[in-house]
Point group: none
Chain length 230, copies 2
DNA sequence: TTTTTTTGTTACCGCTTTGTAACCAACCTG
DNA sequence: CAGGTTGGTTACAAAGCGGTAACAAAAAAA
């Protein structure tokens, strides 16, 4: 597994890196919050060990931004041991919180526990298909019946991904809002507008896939996959 | 969410229970390892708070047995603070490990982090059935004898769910009002109107299920589950 | 830095849902 | 028997919801 270790203390970053490499992980290091976000985007690590006290962008902010679009496991490793710190980090999406000085063995065990729970599902699939509709998740491009239809904006992409991953199921508005906007939060008016935009782009192009409203509940991506049997 | 709290220290089990209930969870308690397994099987909790030092069957053994067949999130709460203990528990499948004395706030935050990662959704029954009548609770759609009949409004859905969950029992008007309107409150005139609307939608479509008035008391969903014997 | 695109916010409109009041028949009580 | 209550039905106003559009602010791209 590929790890991103974020700490402005170079010596400690080395120790953590060594610990993780010994446990069989590949490690990339970032020494400040901005570099962390950059490396996260470019390297797509499987998990992140994140300090809180960072130059340029603190760890909590990093965590929050990552959580907007990603479920990559995040373990906080910090000198801060107050309840408020722990609770805040966990609230912003961290999966675990360890206080320095830390036990290398315990760090490895906790990494493994979180990865076990996370499974492989946190990785975004490269492509999703529903009926004759295909979404290139990375590029946000939609293809219908082999014909490229155009590109989605970031939020449109997240919404369609969520719907496609749960095709033929009704997703409550609250669930969609959580998945699209994450801890930053959104509201029903924003979802309504986004859904309108998504429908505008997809329109009636697909022959067997449509975006359905479930009044008072939410939305569903419906595919007529099974033609009536005769 | 339903929690199973396992601790032989009754006072501590009470504190943990209180903490979790305050956070909105339902709590069941077991005081030894054997009872824990029994309750886990019977109650199907959404997560488990597990002590290690338990009579009859220690916590590690409980964790191990549960993990053979289940992914139910498990948080260890123990006086043991040695690395070996933490690493072993995490290795045997625990999702998190906290040492006593514990911070209630941090316990709640860690429970939430683990549940979030586990993707445990608040569960409500997806479908309810009474006789030949089926209700999709999320979509509010009614199906009779396999034929979709239509969609209920939110309040109609709540009313029918309450009646179906208590089929063949008389529910007083006050109970129905509480369940349908909750803290917002309702009154008998509103219930009367709502029942009329529900009857209008369900009508006489069902062959073995009907909405019955109990004068001066309330209503009941009656199913003739046992066909007359011939 | 400027331009373009994306996103958030507000408004409008039509349709649906819900609350409220009224009417009527049936039943019960004094 | 008259009056009051209850339950079913109807009608309409008020509230809410979902689709669509416009514009300002923020973000991204050139």
């Amino acid at each position: 597994m590929k790890a991103l270790v974020v700490d402005d203390d170079l010596a400690l970053a080395d120790v953590v890196s060594f610990t993780l490499r010994r446990a069989g992980h590949e490690v990339i290091v970032a020494n400040d919050g901005a570099m962390a976000l950059e490396r996260w985007k470019l390297e797509a690590p499987d998990f992140i060990i994140l300090d809180l006290n960072l130059p340029k962008l603190n760890g909590l902010e990093v965590c929050q931004r990552i959580r907007v679009t990603s479920k990559t496991p995040i373990l906080i490793l910090s000198v801060r041991d107050e309840d408020d710190d722990v609770v805040a980090a966990l609230h912003y999406g961290a999966d675990d919180y360890m206080v320095k000085p830390f036990s290398p063995r315990q760090l490895v065990a906790r990494v493994e526990a979180v990865l076990r729970r996370a499974g492989v599902e946190h990785r975004s699939p490269e492509q999703l298909t529903a009926g004759d509709l295909t979404l290139d998740c990375l590029r946000g491009e939609i293809i219908i019946g082999g014909e490229p239809l155009g590109r989605l904006t970031h939020l449109e992409n997240q919404l369609l991904q969520t719907l496609m991953l749960n095709q033929n199921q009704t997703l409550p508005a609250s669930t969609l809002i959580d998945h699209v906007w994450g801890p930053a939060g959104g509201d029903k008016a924003m979802l309504k507008q986004l859904m309108y935009r998504l429908r505008t782009k997809i329109g009636a192009a697909s022959k067997n896939t449509r975006l359905e409203t479930v009044p008072g509940v939410g939305y569903s991506l419906v595919t007529e996959r099974k033609p009536p049997k005769r």
